[in-house]
Amino acid sequence: MSTIIASHGFTNASLEWEAWLDVIDLEQASADQITVLEESNPKAKTSDYYLFLAHQPAILRQRSAAFNAIMYAPGGMSRAERELGSLVVSRINGCVYCASVHAQRFEQLAKRNDVVRQVFEDPYSAGTNAREQAIAQFSIALTKAPNDISAASIVALKEVGLNELEILDLMHSVAIFAWANRLMLNLGEPVLPLTD
């Protein structure tokens, strides 16, 4: 990470996360639980988040399949723009942990963090160009008032150049963070790594 940004309680610094209830014990885990952890994320076996969700391996398997397909599938909307949508949702929902992770992913993919700074500062005006602004606006709208999303919301995305597959990808990226943020915010809490 090139520059640490800290603003309005949000940061792009790396955070840890601790569960508020008992996580599974890897020594006692079933073969299926181990397999699901390996499918979910490269760091799942050392992550409280995944070790907690692994209490229900069949549900976690499907959640991870959805998450990974939405965020990493080739084609359609660029991965950086999907991360931008997820970052805006996490900022709106107040998920400091998710915002940190996806701010870092955005910067890794886009090689810049100007819009990260803007999203932390004020997501409602964020975006370094009309396309990013429209992505941020749609992400906020689908997060805050999903039933008010209309044809006009879609037209606004098309007007800045998004095609239909990109719109579908953005919609999925926003929706999956309605899911992820709720778990991260309510099952445990971010912990700052030890600093001086």
Binding site: H55, A65, A66, A69, C95, P146
Partner: protein, 171 residues
């Protein structure tokens, strides 16, 4: 063709333009349906199917997604739901139920759906205090969070459908 609830709820028929587009992301569609199937698996450990459907109904209602709520209400009626519990989820509030599991689950559903940022350790620990096991807490949390995802996918696809019709009528 396998059953796909999102297609049903959004009225996407096979061969339509938006159906084709959505199923370009087939892994997402399959895992979305797979999540629904695993969350409502009758054999799931820790929560009865009725409890899960009550939570889903209440979460949809709080989010204002009447048509997705109608799906869960129908499923509850199909399995024969407790009238007082159904009334609390469909039109009332958790406090009208006696202290116990369903009241605790609906209270947690309200917190996650309406103000996820306000969640704290005490709110989570209220669940084991109501006799809900850790695997059931995981199922409950995944279920409420999934509903927040599901109703946004439905809302987004509906808007895309309307935008598509609008374009066709302009063409």
């Amino acid at each position: 063709m396998t059953h796909d609830l999102i297609d049903v709820l959004t009225g996407l028929s096979a061969g339509s333009r938006l159906h084709n587009l959505r199923h370009q992301r087939e892994k997402v569609a399959l895992a979305t349906q797979g999540s629904y199937d695993s969350l409502f698996d009758p054999a799931l450990e820790g929560m009865t199917l009725q409890e899960r459907l009550l939570v889903a109904l209440y979460a949809c209602r709080l989010a204002g997604s009447a048509d997705v709520a109608a799906h869960y209400l129908q499923r509850l009626q199909d399995i024969g739901v407790d009238a007082a519990q159904c009334a609390a989820a469909d039109s009332g509030n958790p406090e009208q139920l006696p202290v116990g599991r369903v009241r605790a689950m609906l209270t947690f559903a309200r917190a996650l759906t309406e103000r996820p940022v306000a969640g704290d350790k005490a709110a989570l620990h209220a669940l084991p205090a109501a006799g809900i096991s850790t695997p059931a807490v995981v199922a409950l949390s995944q279920l409420i969070a999934f509903i927040s995802y599901q109703l946004r996918v439905v809302a987004g696809l509906r808007a895309m459908q309307l935008a598509g019709h609008h374009e066709e009528s302009q063409a």
